[in-house]
């Protein structure tokens, strides 16, 4: 029942070509240590599913690990556009499919509910329906209204970063939950990274903040600062200084390669030291 693994063990268990749903939302609680471990390995061709994506999508695109992205949003919020996402979209080096926030949720929920689709009005009158071939208009069988059929999204894996987890895979999320519960339920295999591993007894003190249930979880990785450079409320905020460095590095291939060598490829295990060490991080990011 003990599901504790190392980053490398988890990453080796994810085959190239897998469809991977990623939790978090833009600059909040992205499973960045797992994503860096994926970005550092050889084979990729991952098919990503994100609702509100950000640095995780951008980093995997920038390290050429992605063949396809289903997304409602990919960006860096107030900090601007996602540079590698933008490049891949404009140069058409990767396949993209634009969904919307609720339809990504509905697609995951359809898988959870074991139905081929869920219906909605969302998307009607927009060009999402024009460019996304997965959606289908249909007449509902009760009232005859025209609705959008949102097809089931079926991730092989989900990557989710939580505040606390026990070794069995129960996870506590203290801040906003985003779509993480849906990702965990919909994926065939769910991998949690957690700021801290605690005993089941301690974890069960958190009541309804225990949002991820072990019956949906396959592996747990301990990862202090595991969401960095996104934030992990209420422990630490997003590191906008690092975001700026990232955005600057993404401008040219040379600076990008240097960024990856420093933070991703060569020293993934020493990432926390590379970004300044725990003390400096506490000083800059703890609230």
């Amino acid at each position: 029942m003990n599901k504790l693994l190392r980053h490398t063990e988890v990453v080796e268990a994810i085959p190239a070509g897998s469809t991977i749903a990623i939790g978090g939302s833009s600059l909040s609680r992205k499973p960045m240590s797992l994503v860096r471990a994926l970005a550092a390995r050889g084979a990729g061709d991952f098919r990503l599913i994100v609702d509100v994506g950000g640095p995780e999508v951008d980093l995997l695109l920038g390290t050429r690990k992605v063949s396809r992205v289903v997304y409602a949003f990919v960006g860096f919020e107030i900090m601007g556009l996602a540079p590698n996402f933008r490049r891949a979209r404009e140069q058409q080096t990767t396949e993209f499919e634009e969904w919307t926030e609720f339809t990504v949720m509905a697609g995951l929920d359809a898988t959870v509910k074991n139905v081929p689709f869920l219906p909605t009005h969302a998307g009607l009158g927009t060009d999402v329906l024009t460019v996304n071939p997965s959606f289908r208009l249909f007449q509902d069988p009760i009232e005859g209204e025209t609705l959008v059929a949102v097809p089931a999204l079926k991730p092989d894996f989900a990557l989710i970063h939580v505040n606390l987890a026990d070794p069995f895979g129960n996870g506590v999320i203290l801040g906003d939950g985003h779509v993480d519960v849906l990702c965990a339920k919909a994926a065939r295999h769910t991998i949690l990274s957690a700021e801290r591993i605690v005993s089941p007894e301690e974890l069960q003190r958190y009541g309804r903040d225990v949002q991820i249930h072990r019956i949906h979880v396959d592996a747990v990785v301990e990862a202090a600062w595991g969401a960095h450079f996104t934030g992990c409320a209420p422990y630490y905020r997003a590191d906008l200084a690092h975001v700026q460095a990232y955005l600057a590095a993404a401008r040219t291939p040379e600076t990008w390669d240097a960024y990856c060598a420093r933070y991703v490829t060569d020293v993934p295990a020493d990432y926390i030291q590379a970004v300044g060490g725990p003390e400096e991080l506490v000083g800059r990011l703890e609230v």
Partner: protein
């Protein structure tokens, strides 16, 4: 009374908010208009501190601390499901700032140029399709009204304005109702539901707004154009007290200047939050 255009816009935006609805306050102008409305004419608003939590807080415009604010003020945690349920039930309001808005209120945050081979790939439609198919009030703002932002026709419809698709599939559900820009306040009661001027900000002429707009605007028939009411002294006091770091100014800046200001605010906003947090320690974390 001295005020700046951000404050004028916030006051104009606040006037559009009322009713017992959740109000998203993701952007600084959105947060401040929601809070101003709540403090003045609409105490029943349920203002959020993040896109999905913190109901019943005093929102503070912030770059990274929304969820911390929920915690500090013991805001009510919500789920994404709660948010979209509120949208589908028309109990949600949000001020959206699109990259492009067109004559019939279609909006674009996805791409400049064709979707499959964009000149500029932006961010993706996010939750705008949900809003524009369900809400009875769809509220847009634009901080740089120009022929590149207020356009004849958007390159991509991230949000549904008026047009044949709406007529056939949606009716009034989610139709655009208001646009507030740095030049004026608009609705969609022109011919065929096209953009029409409701009021111009003090000092803005009909010619200036027409010149900044990528298509012929509708003006009211009697030739007299209302002037947007300025923020009251009380409005200004509320706005300035809730945004002492002036996060609201960031939305009017471009490139390097924005980046520099942003770093300053980012450093200072933590201090403000820490003070608030310490007042509320003791909650199980």
């Amino acid at each position: 009374m001295d005020y700046s255009v951000d404050e004028l816009m916030i006051a104009a935006m606040a006037r559009e908010l009322s009713g017992e609805v959740m109000v998203s306050s993701v952007t600084a102008l959105g947060a401040l208009s929601a809070y101003l409305a709540k403090r003045t004419h609409a105490p029943e608003l349920a203002v959020l501190s993040t896109p999905e939590s913190g109901m019943e807080v005093t929102p503070m415009p912030t770059l990274t601390l929304g969820q911390f604010m929920t915690d500090a003020q013991r805001g009510i945690p919500l789920t994404m499901e709660d948010i979209f349920d509120a949208i589908f039930l028309d109990r949600f309001r949000i001020w959206i700032n699109p990259a492009q808005i067109d004559r019939f209120g279609n909006v674009n945050i996805t791409a400049i140029g064709p979707w499959a081979s964009p000149r500029v790939a932006m961010v993706g439609s996010r939750g705008i399709p949900e809003d524009t198919s369900h809400l009875s009030a769809i509220l847009y703002y634009v901080t740089n009204h120009s022929p590149r932002t207020v356009v004849e026709r958007v390159d991509f419809r991230s949000g549904a304005g008026y047009g044949p698709d709406r007529e056939r599939l949606l009716g009034q559900r989610g139709a655009p109702t208001r646009l507030v820009t740095n030049l004026g306040v608009f609705d969609f009661n022109g011919p065929d539901h096209s953009l029409a001027v409701l009021s111009l900000h003090p000092g803005v002429s009909r010619e200036a707004v027409q010149e900044a707009t990528g298509f012929p605007l509708s003006f009211s028939d009697d030739g007299r154009m209302d002037e947007t009411p300025p923020p009251s002294e009380n409005d200004l006091a509320i706005i300035r007290a809730s945004d002492p770091l002036e996060v609201r100014k960031l939305e009017f800046l471009g490139g390097r200047e924005a980046a520099e200001r942003l770093v300053q605010i980012y450093e200072r906003e933590r201090q403000a939050m820490r003070a608030a947090l310490w007042q509320n320690r003791g909650r199980l974390r």
